[in-house]
C-alpha cells in the first residue's frame, strides 16, 4: 500500500455466466411452442357435425326481418318457407310454379277469374302457440294487397271457419304469384309489430336469434303441421367477403355456401367433400339504357349498343355461372322463348346504326352498385370501345344507385341484377327507372295479366317479350345461375332459385 507508487487500476469485463440467457431463451421458446401446440391440438373437433344442424353461408344479410315491408331479397331468402308461409308457395325445383302451402289445395277460381276461394289447413299453429284462423289470413292479406302495393284492389273475406275468399275487380294472373311471396305471408293477427328483429310464423322452423353482422339461427318447430324438418337447427351465416365464406366452408364452419364467386370455383374443383351445384334462377343482370333521355330515346342507338356486346363472351366472364339472354324473361318463367338472335352480336351493324343515328362519338357513364364482380362490366366497356363508344364505369354504393338511378332517373346506363321472377311488368311501366314507353307492349302485358288461361298468358307475354327484345330498352347481359357449394354430408338442399329462397325443410345432414 504505497501511495507514491499507485498501481494503475485494472479494468476487466466481468465474466458473467451465460446460463440466465440460455434459460431465458429456452423458456421463451418453450412458451411459444406450448402455445402453438395448444392451438394445433385444440382445433375445432368434429362435435359440430354430431349435432343435427345445418349451417348455410349467404352473401347478403337481411337489413331487417320485416318480411312484409323490407324489399331486400335476403329477408325472404332466409325467412319465407322456413319461418313464414303463405296460402300458396313456390314449388321445389321451380322459380314461379305455384303450390298450396297453408291452403289444402290450389284455390277454386270462379269462371270469370275474379273470385279465388282457399280452404285453410287444419291444425296449423303459429310459433307463438296460437292457432291459425281465417281472421289471421284476412288481417294479413287485406292491408298487403292494395292498389298502392300491388297495383289493383283485392277484397279479402272469410267464408265460414275454414275458407277465405279473395275477390278481384279484373282478372289478374299475378295474384297467386304475389300470394306466394312476401305480400302473401300469413302473420298472427296480421300484425308486423316487433317483426323488424323477430319472427313468428307457421313454418317448419322457429326463429331463435339474429346476431346482426353474423348469423340467424332457426330451430326446428316441433309442433309443425306438416312433415317435420330434417335437422334440429338451421344457421344462416353472412359473408360479405367471398373469400371468408370459402375459408368457413373449408374450416367446416358452414356446410353450404350459396353463390360462390365465379373466380373462386377452382378452390373446390376436384374436391370430393363438396358438390358444386348450379342453381337455375330468375336473376337478370341488366344493362339498362335511360330510354327517356337522348340519345337513348333513339332505338337505333339502343340497338347498336346491344349489338356491340357479345353474349357468349359475357357468359364466359362468369366461369359458366350464367346463361345467355335475349329478353328479360328467363327460362323458367312463363313467356320464355329463346330471343338471343335478336340484336345479336354484330359490331359492324352496330357501327352502321350509330352512323345512321348520327351518334359516332358517344361518351357514356355506366352507374353500377359497387358490390358486383366487375368482370362482365370490363368486357362491356371494352366491347363498346370497339364500336367507338367510350363508356366509363361509375361504381356507387347501393343507396346511391337507388337515389340517382332508381328514384331520380339520373343516369346514362345502369348495371344491376334484377333478381325478382315475373318482373316483366317493369317494361310495361313508363315510370320505372329505365323509362321504356311502348304502348303496344303495355297493351299486350295488360292482356296477359288479365288472361284466365295460363297458356294464353304465356303466349301474350312471349309476344310482348319479342317486341321488347327488338326495341332494346336494355341489354340483358346474362341470366345468373350461381354455383352453390354443398358438403356431401348434406342432402336435400334446394337446387333452384336459391338466390330468392332457401327452403331447408327437406335438408338432412349425415
Amino acid at each position: 500500500m504505497s501511495e507514491s507508487n499507485p498501481q494503475a487500476p485494472r479494468y476487466e469485463k466481468r465474466k458473467r455466466s451465460k446460463a440466465p440467457l440460455i434459460i431465458a431463451i429456452v423458456v421463451v421458446v418453450g412458451l411459444v411452442a406450448a402455445v402453438a401446440a395448444y392451438f394445433a391440438l385444440t382445433r375445432p373437433g368434429s362435435d359440430a357435425t354430431a349435432k343435427n344442424e345445418v349451417a348455410v353461408g349467404l352473401v347478403l344479410e337481411p337489413t331487417s326481418l320485416d318480411v312484409r315491408n323490407d324489399a331486400g331479397v335476403a329477408t325472404g331468402q332466409v325467412l319465407i318457407d322456413n319461418v313464414y308461409q303463405g296460402l300458396v308457395g313456390i314449388a321445389a325445383g321451380s322459380v314461379a310454379d305455384i303450390v298450396p302451402v297453408l291452403a289444402t289445395e290450389l284455390p277454386e277460381v270462379s269462371d270469370n277469374g275474379l273470385e279465388y276461394t282457399f280452404t285453410l289447413r287444419d291444425g296449423v299453429k303459429f310459433h307463438s302457440g296460437a292457432d291459425l284462423t281465417t281472421a289471421d289470413v284476412v288481417e294479413s292479406l287485406a292491408p298487403a294487397l292494395t292498389p298502392e302495393t300491388v297495383g289493383y284492389a283485392v277484397a279479402v273475406e272469410a267464408v265460414g271457419d275454414a275458407q277465405v275468399k279473395l275477390t278481384l275487380e279484373a282478372p289478374n294472373s299475378l295474384l297467386l304469384w304475389e300470394l306466394a311471396g312476401s305480400k302473401g305471408v300469413i302473420l298472427e293477427g296480421g300484425s308486423t309489430d316487433g317483426l323488424q328483429n323477430s319472427a313468428n310464423g307457421t313454418g317448419p322452423f322457429e326463429f331463435t336469434r339474429w346476431k346482426q353482422g353474423d348469423s340467424i339461427t332457426l330451430d326446428k318447430n316441433d309442433a309443425y303441421w306438416g312433415e317435420p324438418a330434417g335437422v334440429d337447427r338451421a344457421i344462416f351465416r353472412f359473408f360479405p367477403e367471398g373469400r371468408a365464406a370459402v375459408n368457413a366452408l373449408k374450416d367446416g364452419d358452414i356446410d353450404v355456401h350459396t353463390a360462390l364467386l365465379p373466380p373462386l370455383r377452382a378452390e373446390f374443383e376436384g374436391n370430393a367433400n363438396f358438390d358444386m351445384v348450379r342453381a337455375e334462377s330468375a336473376d337478370v343482370f341488366t344493362l339498362a339504357y335511360n330510354n327517356a333521355r337522348a340519345p337513348f330515346d333513339d332505338p337505333r342507338v339502343r340497338q347498336a349498343l346491344s349489338m356491340a356486346i357479345d353474349g357468349d363472351k359475357l357468359v364466359g366472364t362468369q366461369n359458366g355461372d350464367a346463361k345467355q339472354l335475349g329478353s328479360p324473361i328467363t327460362e323458367l318463367e312463363p313467356g320464355y322463348t329463346d330471343l338471343t338472335s335478336v340484336n345479336a352480336y354484330d359490331p359492324e351493324a352496330a357501327r352502321a346504326l350509330l352512323a345512321e343515328a348520327g351518334q359516332q362519338n358517344l361518351s357514356l357513364t355506366i352507374t353500377a352498385p359497387n358490390f358486383y364482380d366487375t368482370a362482365s362490366l370490363d368486357l362491356v366497356t371494352s366491347q363498346l370501345a370497339e364500336i367507338g363508344v367510350s363508356a366509363k364505369v361509375k361504381p356507387v354504393e347501393f343507396p346511391t344507385w337507388l337515389n340517382d338511378v332508381y328514384s331520380n332517373h339520373d343516369f346514362d346506363l345502369s348495371y344491376v341484377d334484377h333478381a325478382e321472377a315475373r318482373d316483366f311488368g317493369n317494361y310495361a311501366n313508363p315510370g320505372y327507372y329505365f323509362g321504356y314507353d311502348n304502348p303496344e307492349v303495355q297493351r299486350l302485358y295488360a292482356e296477359a295479366i288479365a288472361s284466365i288461361d295460363p297458356a294464353d298468358e304465356a303466349a301474350l307475354l312471349e309476344q310482348a317479350a319479342g317486341l321488347v327484345a327488338a326495341d332494346a330498352p336494355a341489354k340483358w347481359l346474362f341470366n345468373y345461375t350461381p354455383t352453390n357449394v354443398v358438403s356431401t354430408k348434406v342432402s336435400g338442399f334446394p337446387s333452384v332459385n336459391t338466390n330468392s329462397r332457401v327452403n331447408l325443410a327437406g335438408v338432412t345432414v349425415e
Binding site: 402453438a36 392451438f39 394445433a40 385444440t42 382445433r43 375445432p44 344479410e61 337489413t63 331487417s64 326481418l65 315491408n69 323490407d70 324489399a71 331486400g72 298502392e148 302495393t149 316487433g194 323488424q196 328483429n197 346476431k211 346482426q212 353482422g213 353474423d214 348469423s215 339461427t217 344457421i235 351465416r237 353472412f238 359473408f239 360479405p240 367477403e241 373469400r243 371468408a244 365464406a245 375459408n247 368457413a248 373449408k250 374450416d251 364452419d253 356507387v396 354504393e397 347501393f398 343507396p399 346511391t400 344507385w401 337507388l402 337515389n403 340517382d404 332508381y406 328514384s407 344491376v416 334484377h418 325478382e420 318482373d423 315510370g431
Partner: protein, 318 residues
C-alpha cells in the same frame, strides 16, 4: 395542475361538440336514404315517400340534430331505423369483439415495437440492427388486406393452427374459441401498426443514446447498456406514451378493415353495413361513441404525460 385539468376538459367538451356536428352534417351529404333502401327496386315513388314520412326523415335537420344530441347527453343513443333495436345494446354486443381485438393488437404492437426498436437502436452499427430497421419499413408498407391473406395462408391454411374467419356465435361463453378467432386478426393489425411504432422507438432510443445525460452515466463507469436502461429509456417511454393516443385511433381504423376480412361481427363490420343501409341514427351514434373514446384517450394521455414528466410542469407548479 387544476388549471391545466380544467382547460383540458373544456377543450375536450368543445372538440366533442364539434365532432358531433361534423358527424351529423357529413352523414347528411351521403346520397340516398334508408327509405329507398327498405323500398328497394319494387317500391313506387309514392310508397317511398310514405315510408320517408313514417320514418321521420322529413323533419328539419336542426330538430333531428338536437333530438339526437339531447338523447346522447342523457345517455340515450336511440334506436336503429331499420331494425328498431337499441343502439346501445347493439354497440355493447359488437364491442365484445372490437375491444378485445384492439387490446390484443395493442399488445402485439408493444411486444413488437419496444424490444425490437430498442435493440435496433442499440445495435445500430451492426448489420442485424440495420436489417431489423429495414424490414420495419417494408412491414409498415404492407396493406392490411394483403397481410391478412398471407397470415391466413400460413397459420390457417397450411399449418391449421388458427381459424381463418368468424367468431363463436355464443361469443365469450366459449372463451378459448373466442380468443383463437382473434389471434390472426390481432397479429395482422399488430404487426403493421407495430412496424410504425417501431420506427418511433428506434429513433427515440438513438437520440437517447446520444443524449448528454446518458453519456454522463457512461462516463461514471456504467456500461452503454446500463446507461441506456437506467437513464435513456425513461425518456423513450414518454415518447411512446404520447404516441399511444394516436396509435389507439389507428388500431380502431385497422379493426374496421380487418373485421371485414375475417368476418368478425364487430363495430367495424357493423359500421360498414349500417352505412350501406343508410341507418344514419345508428351510424352517427356509433361514430360519436368511437370519437369520444379516442378524444378521452388523447386527453388521458396528455394528463398522464404531464404527471410523469416534470419538464412539462409550469413554473411554480408542484
Amino acid at each position: 395542475m387544476t388549471r391545466f385539468l380544467l382547460g383540458r376538459t373544456g377543450l375536450l367538451a368543445l372538440a366533442w361538440l364539434l365532432a358531433s356536428v361534423l358527424i351529423f352534417a357529413t352523414l347528411r351529404i351521403l346520397p340516398g336514404d334508408v327509405a329507398q333502401v327498405i323500398g328497394g327496386t319494387q317500391a313506387s315513388p309514392a310508397q317511398i315517400a310514405d315510408l320517408r314520412e313514417a320514418l321521420g326523415l322529413n323533419r328539419p335537420l336542426l330538430t333531428q340534430y338536437f333530438e339526437w344530441i339531447g338523447g346522447v347527453l342523457r345517455f340515450d343513443l336511440g334506436a336503429s331505423v331499420v331494425t328498431g333495436t337499441e343502439i346501445s345494446a347493439e354497440l355493447a354486443e359488437k364491442a365484445e369483439v372490437t375491444i378485445p381485438l384492439t387490446v390484443m393488437s395493442l399488445a402485439v404492437v408493444l411486444l413488437v415495437a419496444i424490444p425490437l426498436g430498442v435493440f435496433a437502436a442499440y445495435r445500430n452499427d451492426s448489420p442485424v440492427g440495420q436489417l431489423v430497421a429495414a424490414s420495419s419499413v417494408l412491414a409498415s408498407a404492407i396493406p392490411v388486406v394483403w397481410a391478412g391473406l398471407l397470415g391466413t395462408l400460413l397459420l390457417s391454411s397450411w399449418l391449421g393452427w388458427l381459424p381463418s374467419q368468424g367468431f363463436p356465435r355464443d361469443g365469450w361463453e366459449e372463451p378459448l374459441q373466442a380468443i383463437r378467432s382473434l389471434v390472426l386478426p390481432a397479429l395482422t393489425i399488430g404487426l403493421i401498426e407495430g412496424a410504425i411504432l417501431f420506427r418511433l422507438v428506434r429513433s427515440a432510443t438513438l437520440r437517447a443514446l446520444d443524449a448528454d445525460h446518458v453519456r454522463t452515466a457512461m462516463s461514471q463507469g456504467n456500461s452503454r447498456l446500463r446507461a441506456l436502461l437506467t437513464q435513456g429509456l425513461p425518456g423513450v417511454g414518454l415518447s411512446i406514451i404520447s404516441m399511444l393516443g394516436l396509435q389507439a385511433a389507428a388500431l380502431l381504423v385497422g379493426a374496421v378493415v380487418v373485421e371485414q376480412l375475417f368476418s368478425l361481427p364487430g363495430l367495424g363490420t357493423m359500421l360498414v353495413s349500417d352505412v350501406g343501409e343508410r341507418d344514419l341514427p345508428k351510424v352517427q351514434s356509433t361514430l360519436l361513441v368511437l370519437t369520444s373514446v379516442i378524444l378521452v384517450m388523447g386527453a388521458l394521455v396528455d394528463v398522464i404525460h404531464r404527471i410523469i414528466d416534470p419538464r412539462l410542469r409550469a413554473e411554480g407548479e408542484e
